[in-house]
């Protein structure tokens, strides 16, 4: 019994010492060895990352990795590499990253100060913000028209938080999921539904009569999407950022944007000048 105990203690001590060695993660070295860059991405978030009708795993975020990030990482490690994709969802993406199961999260992850405490983010590759979905011709044109109005939101979202804190005159109704909130809007239980602009555009496009709905208002919150990496992975982050920056500078990024969000794209969502300026500013140009 005593002996077993000491074995257990020894094991525990070894594990405790082995786990947080304190060494900085070096993903580039790992990729150099294996020739594989593993990304964690979504399967059901069109057009960012999803499985299409032909059963291919595609999307805007995946294109960015394959066409912009991959060449930059190849340059850094000095060999050709392969991209491997794994499914990651909001609750699993940070654990996947910290357990080394994936090297890069490229999906629809918003870059927030809280998350920055645990992971590093690349340059912003997509910028959206909260807007309102309303019936065409609604008097609501933006966040300044919502006093006294019934506004639906998704429970726990950043948008709901902002409305509650900064616009208490609005009657906020929080629903656990998007279909219930949209149903309430269709029936008139609420006057508007607020969420990230890109989500609303997707909802509108998928609805039976897209012409009946309008996405209105300037962004009243900032939702910059970034690719997430293990914290302190300096060389790898530099390579990823270089790839994206190169894309902004050469215009390749905007071609990819157009492919997915242009007039003929999967989800038309033209880039406003504000957004373009934001992306360029944050790419260090």
């Amino acid at each position: 019994m005593r002996r077993m105990l000491s074995v257990v203690v020894a094991l525990a001590v070894t594990l405790a010492l082995a786990a947080p060695v304190g060494a900085q993660p070096d993903t580039t070295a790992k990729i150099k060895e294996t020739g594989v860059l593993t990304i964690g991405t979504r399967t059901g978030s069109p057009p960012f990352a999803y499985i299409n009708k032909d059963n291919q795993w595609v999307g805007f975020s995946i294109d960015l990795v394959e066409q912009l990030v991959k060449p930059a990482v190849e340059k850094e490690v000095g060999r050709t590499i392969k991209i491997e994709k794994k499914e990651s969802t909001p609750p699993t993406r940070i654990p996947l990253l910290s357990s080394n199961a994936v090297d890069l999260i490229a999906g629809t992850m918003t870059d927030t100060p809280q998350r920055r405490e645990v992971v590093d983010f690349s340059l912003t590759f997509f910028y959206t913000g909260a807007q309102f979905l309303v019936k065409k011709g609604s008097p609501i044109k933006g966040v300044n028209d919502i006093a006294g109005k019934r506004i639906a939101s998704q429970q726990g979202s950043t948008n709901a938080k902002i409305i509650r804190e900064k616009y208490p005159q609005a009657q906020l109704r929080e629903f656990p999921d998007q279909p219930a909130a949209f149903q309430a809007l269709i029936q008139g239980q609420v006057d508007a539904y607020t969420n990230d602009g890109i989500q609303l555009a997707g909802l509108k496009a998928k609805s039976p009569n897209p012409g009946d709905w309008e996405v209105v208002g300037d962004f009243y919150s900032e939702e910059p999407y970034g690719m997430a990496m293990r914290k302190g992975d300096v060389k790898f982050k530099a390579a990823v950022d270089a790839g994206l920056r190169n894309g902004f500078e050469s215009g390749k990024y905007f071609e990819i944007y157009d492919k997915w969000f242009g007039a003929k794209g999967e989800l038309p969502y033209p880039m406003t000048p504000t957004v373009k300026a934001y992306l360029l500013k944050h790419s260090g140009k």
Binding site: Q155, G156, R173, E174, A180, Q189
Partner: protein, 237 residues
């Protein structure tokens, strides 16, 4: 990565106020729904035992229709299904006056009324048939016999299962969060999303429900003892 407990999130900031509001909403919606449920339960429970077939059928229909559909579906029915049937003006008025609260209250009350009526019916059935016959023989009408004799005795017999049903009603009020009623579970999740402290928030919710339910059970135990009919029901400890 070990979990860092931070219990102060429950009273710092707005959390405490939210939880209190949640308790108030839970009690309000459950209290009103309980009154509705007991009222409907007595009516339907009694209706199913009267010697008049159409009334028995109506009672049976109500019970089977409402207790055999999930509560969640009733919530959506009263919130999304009923308003479009009303005139536009009434709809707007309702939507501006917490339609979700009233829809949730109706869903809860009508659903639990159906379940409560079964409890009351079993109470009525446990009373010897001769009680009813004696009442009628004394010149009471059927309605009077029920109002003055049968229902009061039945209510005194069914306190324990009715307590059970009442506690279920209180806990089921959490389903109303799906139609955006900001009750206790909703506020617990709110605290969780704001503070990212899931264990603390859920523990608070658990304890509050526990305190509410134990208090109700305690009150009902007193009621049970106070109103027990000597000879018909064994005295509770």
């Amino acid at each position: 990565m070990s979990y860092q407990f931070k219990w102060s999130v429950l009273w710092s900031g707005q959390s405490g106020g939210w939880l209190l509001q949640g308790v108030a909403t839970t009690l309000a919606i459950s209290g009103l729904a309980w009154i509705l449920a007991v009222g409907l339960g007595i009516l339907a429970g009694a209706a199913r035992t009267v010697p008049w077939r159409p009334l028995r059928l109506a009672g049976t229909f109500y019970v089977e229709f409402f207790r055999n559909v999930p509560l969640l579906v009733w919530m959506f029915f009263w919130y999304f299904g009923v308003p479009p049937l009303l005139p536009r003006g009434v709809q707007d008025w309702l939507f501006n006056h917490s339609a979700e609260f009233w829809a949730g209250m109706f869903a809860l009350g009508v659903y639990h009324g159906a379940r409560m009526s079964e409890v009351i019916r079993s109470g009525i059935n446990s009373i010897p048939r001769t009680q009813f016959e004696a009442s009628v023989a004394m010149g009471l009408t059927t309605f009077q016999a029920y109002r003055l004799i049968i229902v009061p005795i039945a209510l005194r017999l069914i306190v324990p299962p009715a307590t059970n049903e009442s506690l279920n009603l209180l806990k089921n009020s959490s389903v109303a969060l799906t139609i955006s009623v900001a009750e206790l579970t909703f506020q617990t999740r709110q605290v969780e999303t704001y503070t990212a402290k899931a264990i603390e928030a859920l523990t608070a919710g658990t304890l509050i429900y526990l305190v509410l339910c134990v208090s109700i059970a305690w009150i009902m135990a007193r009621v049970e003892r106070r109103f027990a009919i000597p000879g018909l029901i064994a005295r509770g400890g």
